[in-house]
Symmetry: C2
Subunit: 325 residues, 2 copies
């Protein structure tokens, strides 16, 4: 069974141009995609780009600055229609570059939670020195205030994803804190530590901020406030450092000459650090694969998100977590 990925084609700052272009590239790479949104507009965009894709009409859109609660009122919004396709088993996964809060709300409302997971969480893959080339940070922003039991659930979600999606056998799971000893942390971490310890996971204890990108852990568990700050700091710092390197490489004639020679090598590194490489972040704990992308996503991010959503649909991850009876 090779169900298509439902793309909220109206979501994102550059929709539908970039969503359609990204979808066409994913389809060319063998991933079936169904576009969800204003049918006339999407047909026109497809014609302009000279491509063909199935379209499911959705007359409404939840704009970036709408309240997430609009999700319940506007049943025919593109994000809701995309989620219903997953719910009704007509699509294997849903992807949106639109309103993140609305996408989370729609996933919860339409698909519902997997039993045993009280709070769906966002997982971010950040380039790291770990053998898989990435660290899995969870929660990266869905839940600003959590209880210790939620961190325990995030650990299970993150480990399952690292194992089944990134192919990491028995992933090392760390709890983000401010010291390696179990006695170091805030109240939340101090109480979560024994809960993670008793799980049947490869729990390596507390890890610190300096360990996040090092080859220390494959999965790093934290609350959505700390995780979102860490994710955005990691992305922002890479951008700023590469800017400074660029400056340094034009600081003298000698550096400029050298800069020409090292340009390709540094470009490959910068591409690796580019968040578009991962395309979008999975929302774990709901009854279906859902990926949430950045509003400013370009076609490359859309394509990568669709490839990963399709991979997750085929991975059996949701079934493994108990989301399908």
């Amino acid at each position: 069974m090779n169900l298509p990925v439902a793309l909220d084609a109206m979501g994102g700052d550059y929709a539908p141009r970039e969503t359609v272009a990204g979808a066409l590239a994913a389809a060319a790479a063998g991933v079936p995609v169904v576009l969800v949104g204003d049918e006339e507009r999407l047909r026109r965009e497809l014609a302009e780009q000279g491509g063909e894709l199935p379209v499911v009409h959705a007359p409404e859109v939840i704009e970036m600055h709408a309240a997430a609660t609009e999700v319940r009122r506007r049943r025919q919004a593109s994000i809701n229609v995309a989620m219903r396709l997953v719910k009704e088993n007509e699509a294997g996964a849903a992807v949106s570059m639109g309103h993140s809060g609305a996408t989370m709300a729609s996933a919860l409302f339409t698909l519902g939670r997997i039993g045993g997971f009280e709070r769906p969480a966002i997982l971010a893959e950040i380039p790291s020195a770990a053998p898989s080339g990435r660290v899995h940070l969870i929660d990266a922003g869905a839940n600003a205030d959590v209880r210790p039991a939620h961190l325990e659930q995030f650990a299970r979600l993150g480990a399952a994803y690292a194992e089944r999606m990134s192919g990491v056998a028995r992933p090392r799971v760390g709890l983000l804190s401010i010291g390696e000893e179990a006695s170091k942390g805030n109240q939340l971490v101090l109480e979560a530590h024994p809960l993670l310890h008793r799980l049947d996971l490869n729990f390596i204890g507390n890890v610190e901020g300096r360990d996040l990108l090092a080859d220390v852990a494959d999965v790093v568990v934290t609350d959505g406030f700390t995780g979102n700050v860490a994710l955005k700091l990691a992305e922002g710092e890479a951008r700023i450092l590469f800017g400074w390197i660029k400056e340094a490489l034009s600081s003298s004639l000698k550096a400029k000459l050298g800069g020409l020679l090292v340009r390709d090598a540094l470009k490959r590194l910068a591409a690796r650090m580019d968040p578009a490489e991962y395309g979008a972040m999975p929302l774990l704990g709901v009854r279906g694969p859902v990926f949430i992308g950045h509003g400013a996503s370009d076609r490359r991010a859309v394509t990568n998100a669709l490839l990963r959503a399709h991979k997750m649909a085929g991975s059996g991850l949701v079934e493994f977590l108990g989301g399908v009876e």
Copy 2:
């Protein structure tokens, strides 16, 4: 009045060799230093390094793995003796590369808090794109769990430091959160926002992780858990990225040739990102300038810490905050 800086010469992984070497370099740069610790051992170290400095004897040391509570029991420990020199106005500031928790406890116990500041906080200066070349992050780890009023106090401490120590006029103060809108954040940040807003500071509202190193804020306020994670992530990421750049520059013959030409320019950049550049972090909110350094500090970090402690003693910052009647 040019009071010496009291250096806990027994604190740190490489004490007393690196502490003494760093102190001699600071003295050569015009900063009066008094060494505190085992007199015989320090005299021997001074003789070996061929230097002269005043020594105040302290027969005990709080080892790195001791409990911070040892501070109260061991009155003659070097860190306590150093703090007493500040308290008794025989030294203008105290610096330690030893046990951070013990240094904080000793500062609180011996010097006491400045009225109106319930929780002393650690300020970290991180290289950033701001005009002063750095962002002032407070709290960087002294208080893992705080209340909204503490964040308000951290804002006042951080702004005063940025203004008087880094020369930033009317520093931009941001509250670290997970969205720019005042409605985004965890419960702590949501409650702290209006408190910071009503202060007579240049409060610019919430800032995100991506803004930390950008030219957005001069002072970033957060709890000690998030701040410590952010500080260590920022330092760790710089180290890892420079490692990857080094690898990239040996990935081909062309890159290697270019690497030779750009080496000096990149070395200057790496030096700027080196935490030893700042030497140590001030503990703000106590009745005297106190700087806490990393246990692994080398002589350069010790020298830089002593220079900044001396600068703070002469800056009138503690007096401005109300610490001296």
